[in-house]
Subunit: 139 residues, 2 copies
DNA sequence: ACAGCAATGAAAACCGTTTTCAATCGAACG
DNA sequence: CGTTCGATTGAAAACGGTTTTCATTGCTGT
């Protein structure tokens, strides 16, 4: 089997070294993290990956749908490797960043209906719920 | 009637010159606009308002709940003076920026319920639907 | 008038992200 | 092996939106 050189992989994930490193770091399935956090983390772990490459890898992975992107209220982009590849929304803890994935078929239906009422052709929609998870709830 | 000097106004809106200018420009009830757009617009109209003041005014007005803030996918903050002061969501046209306000009591209920299921104490939630309005739908 | 504090705005700092560009890597081919 | 050539990498610089700094201006109450 000839080794793949670029994104023509059967699977589309983790082709370049940076992408593999990022995916590995993200594999923990933890909270949403920013590119810079990720970079610091990789650096700390001895992984020699440049910040630029982290950004590029995240961008590529996000484009490929391998990771989910979330903008924090301050405008920073954060990333997470989600369990489901289906369309879903998040419950995000403002304190520790952990996220719970939720699907909401009823919501999706409602969105389509409202859009139709106002004669909008829907491109996309986002729903994010932020609060404190059980663990962080006790200030 | 003594003139008000600062935000201790009965109403909380448009106390400083910059705030008044911004509110006036936003009054058109049109699309969501960025701080810079607003600044250019005011400058064009002969209103001598500095960019810094526009930012400050928007921040104050947003804090006071006088205007709604929306982050574009690129991370830029855009503002709009909404018709309703009640909690609501938006249908936003990606082409012209126009927005339709929608209330969704059923959604609010659903959010609370989902949060409860996962033992989250909800702080806030956002739902934005983006697409093309009827006028812009024809490419 | 005058003191004092809020508002203003130009310029500089900030900060996350993207771009540039030269160096490096590595598969393919001879 | 050695060369070629496109892809990858990363340091540094550019970028763009936003915030901060700080000196100036303008009101307000005395």
């Amino acid at each position: 089997m000839t080794r793949v050189r670029n994104g023509h992989d059967a699977h589309g994930a983790g082709v370049t070294r940076a992408q593999r490193a990022v995916l590995a770091a993200l594999a923990a399935e933890g909270p949403f993290v920013s590119a810079q956090d990720l970079h610091a983390q990789l650096r700390g772990a001895g992984e020699g990956v440049g910040l630029t490459s982290v950004y590029r890898a995240l961008q590529a992975l996000a484009d490929a749908g391998e990771v989910d992107v979330l903008r924090t209220p301050s405008g920073e982009a954060t990333y997470r490797r989600c369990g489901s590849d289906r369309h879903h929304h998040h419950l995000v803890c403002t304190s520790c960043g952990t996220a719970v994935e939720v699907e909401a078929p009823a919501l999706e239906r409602w969105v389509r209906q409202v859009a139709a009422t106002h004669e909008f052709a829907v491109d996309s929609h986002t729903l994010e719920i932020s609060g404190r998870c059980r663990t962080c709830a006790r200030d």
